[in-house]
């Protein structure tokens, strides 16, 4: 269809896409392609909250793609790249290819632009082979994470990769953004799992980056393409390490008076050589939110109840709660200070640390016992199994809060940074302080390593004035990431860089950024692959 539908707030007229569609159909007749208006809206961008804020202002697809294509194999990706390269060579309207898995990214890594072609990789979603003897799986990159895990479970295996987006993200997305799952302390991040990948570069070349067996000699090309966010090539398949599905799982909660004491306990746990599957330490306020995450109902209620010392039964009407939430968020600096004062009274057990162990039964029991002893020596209060299993049962629930908060007139986002243990508290305090004037902020510490840990800040800000909200949101991120880099932290741990953090790539990479630019010129000489991500044009 031509796509002549009227859409408010859309800057590019939808009919402009027709020529691109015709060109593609002419050049690549076997390639599935669409410029259906519903596709152009749905594929316009990922789930970057900056875009969600724009949705509140009615801007649902400010710059829709010209069309969407679904290559069925890497050969079609090669043809597509060759076509785009040829177009770039003759000048005129440049073609940009933007890879798309399931569009769950939160950093603007998948954003269409005028004239862009979205490359949806989900036609390539097969499990190519499972090798139980070698503990390996080969899968195409378009497979949804949940489906891959399901398939492995049928064979008694697990990938061990459980991001909270498991149901709405793809293997390719994990690899492109250096994703981490909830059990990363045991199974590692996605870069620890991949042994080799098939990549179609911007030159149209198909590379197998390594061998099934990890290690090898010379530089690791697999690691070079992991985290490349579609700027160097399309990841079309990967071989990954898998594990026997855990025969046994143990969960437990511990309380620590201050967040710093909890962090110190995790450091000792990890440096003792123990490998818990789950380690999550919530700061005072996030502890309240984490323990109430199973209660259905308004997140505004939870937030307000927590702020007001969990006084329930006020009988307030939902609209009143909504108004109250907006009022509270209007002065986030005051709210944050208030929470800091109230925090010890809000959570009687202090900061909650959830620890989980899994795997072989005997090994799990031994590790859990050693871990328990270590945590008790570190001053932890044993809260029993319930908080641990409560977290496990609700481990995917937190993401559902987003839509309730957005529809309550607030915006919500997360910032995941990391640092070595000696800098971790500075990072925590620095980022918290930087964000506090703009949004109500809480945090948890997860993805722990012997050398350091990641901090996951969640923040909620007012979104009553969409125009101003976006400005405030951008300021928040600038201040937050500036504070992170000043404290010696990273600008991301597992969400990637996308466009939202691109300006901070110099701080992150320093002189090494030149190497990335050189690689970009080598692998994508025509600049057709996802320009804008990683600070690359």
């Amino acid at each position: 269809m031509a796509g002549s539908v009227r859409i408010l707030q859309m800057t590019a007229p939808l009919t402009s896409a027709d020529s691109r569609l015709a060109e593609l159909r002419d050049a690549l007749p076997d390639l599935r392609v669409s410029n259906h208006v519903t596709d152009r809206i749905a594929y316009a961008r990922d789930l970057w909250p900056g875009g969600q804020i724009e949705k509140l202002a009615g801007k649902h697809a400010p710059e829709p793609p010209a069309c969407v294509v679904w290559p069925k194999d890497s050969a079609q990706v090669v043809e597509l790249v060759q076509w785009a390269k040829a177009k770039a060579g003759v000048g005129g309207d440049p073609v940009v290819l933007v890879p798309f898995g399931a569009g769950s990214g939160v950093c603007g890594g998948t954003m269409a632009g005028a004239g862009s072609v979205i490359v949806d990789l989900k036609e390539m979603d097969s499990v190519v082979r499972i090798e139980p003897h070698n503990n390996l799986v080969r899968a195409q990159s378009g497979i949804i994470g949940w489906h891959l895990e399901d398939r492995l479970n049928m064979e008694g295996l697990t990938l061990g990769h459980f991001p909270s987006s498991l149901m709405c993200s793809t293997l390719g997305g994990y690899l492109a953004t250096r994703s981490a799952g909830q059990c990363s302390s045991l199974y590692g991040k996605i870069e620890d799992m991949a042994t080799t990948m098939e990549v179609v570069t911007g030159t149209g070349e198909v590379l197998e980056t390594g061998r099934d067996m990890g290690g090898g000699v010379g530089p690791s090309w697999t690691q070079l393409f992991i985290g490349s966010e579609g700027a160097l090539g399309f990841i079309t398949a990967a071989t990954l390490k898998v594990h026997p599905a855990p025969a046994h799982r143990m969960m437990r909660g511990y309380g620590f008076g201050r967040v710093s004491a909890g962090c110190e306990a995790i450091r000792r746990l990890m440096q003792a050589g123990l490998r818990p599957a789950v380690v999550r330490l919530y700061d005072e306020f996030d502890t309240v939110m984490a323990r109430s995450s199973a209660e259905k109902g308004s997140e505004a209620d939870t937030l307000l109840d927590a702020i007001s010392g969990r006084v329930k039964g006020s009988g307030a009407m939902p609209w009143l709660k909504r108004k109250a939430l907006q009022m509270v968020l209007t002065r986030p600096d005051v709210t944050n200070r208030l929470i800091e004062e109230l925090a010890p009274r809000i959570s009687a057990d202090g900061c909650l640390l959830v620890v989980g162990w899994e795997g072989d039964k005997r090994l799990t029991e031994v590790q859990a016992r050693l871990g328990h002893d270590e945590l008790m020596r570190s001053g932890g209060k044993d809260l029993g199994e319930e908080p641990g299993w409560h977290w496990f049962k609700n481990r995917y629930a937190v993401s559902y809060k987003q839509s309730k908060l957005f529809t309550s007139g607030a915006f919500v986002d997360t910032m995941e940074v990391a640092a070595t243990w000696d800098r971790l508290m500075d990072l925590y305090e620095g980022v918290r302080k930087a964000i506090a004037p703009f949004a109500f902020v809480m945090a948890h510490f997860s993805h722990a390593y012997p050398e350091g840990c990641s901090i996951y800040f969640s923040f909620v800000g007012p979104a009553t004035d969409p125009g101003q909200t976006r400005q405030q949101y951008d300021r928040l991120w600038r201040r937050g990431l500036t504070a992170a880099t000043r404290a010696g932290g990273t600008i991301s741990h597992h969400h990637g860089v996308g466009r939202s953090k691109a300006h901070f790539m110099t701080e992150e990479h320093g002189n090494s950024l030149r190497l990335l630019q050189t690689l970009k010129a080598t692998f994508d000489p025509a600049s057709i692959l996802n320009p804008g991500v990683l600070g690359l044009s």
Binding site: D39, H60, G142, I144, M154, Q402, S403
Partner: protein, 361 residues
Amino acid sequence: MSFDEYEKALELCTYCPKLCRHTCPVGNAERRESVIPQAKMAMANLVRKGQVELTPETASVFYHCNGCGLCGEYCEHDVDVTPALFAARAEAVNKGMDPPSMKQFTDRFYARNDSLLHELHHTIEERFFVEEAQVAYFPSCDTIEHSPRVLHDTLKVLESVGVDYVALHDGEYVCAGYPFWAAGLMSELSFLAKEIASKLSNYKKIICDCPACVWMMRFLYPQLGAPISAEVLHVVEFMDNYAPRIQVSSTVPEAFYHDPCYLGRWLGVFDAPRRLMGRAVREIHEFTWNRERGYCCGGGGLVADNLPDVSAKIAQRRLEEVMRTDVPMVVSACATCERNLSQESGNVEVVNLMTLLARQL
């Protein structure tokens, strides 16, 4: 409910990070982001708010839904996508913006009904159509068209357990109107519901072989002002009480059980079919996605009619797990499932539970 009454659900889905996208049979089959539940609901919301024009093109995605309701099983907000999207279809119909494939739907519905009614009387002996009976068997359209044997098998199984007082409903309709609901033809549905309800209220008990018919009569008819005073049961629910009386002469070694969406998720009937199946099958295999989280066969929501290729892919996906085994049979309790799965099942036999029981008597 009118389209606007789904405002809250549509808003929640608009800002949701696609947390049910892995469940959607249509989304998985098409690999198309605009037809996952979140995107369909967001599009409906844009139309509701007037931010996108309602046209046959924008309305088309509302029809890319099986109506299976699996997405709702993963929704923490208890959003019910099926009725919201069917209301969006009704909005498109009301504005004359339904897709071309839906034109003359009412004419086609009644032409099919009349043809199947004729077929029913041709297939079943007249002695089974008794006006004064207290328990009526309301056969469904898909059963008559695709699995007429199930009619005989159901009567045979009933007789075998001493239930000889069930009569076939001798009415003008062989469908409770699910296709009208799914097509967004609410005034047609309302008329049909009232017609059927007035006839069926003469009985004490109604048994149907179509789970969607049961759900419509039990839950949607009252909302349309057409309550049925008789108790409405799926044949499996009815037969459950008689399960111990079923005497089989032989059993089959193993088979998978496929939960029909409407019998399982919508009516909450999970154990009764398994108990009945257990009379004739020694080992019942479960799909990984089973019971409340059973995966659709691809037959619902008019997808099989409007998007046959998509429907076929959904059936293939459902059967993938069976194909990796040597299990030769899939059992279900819905003629629509039987039809849709059997088209893609290759050497695996897809059989209705009543047929299986009748065969093993």
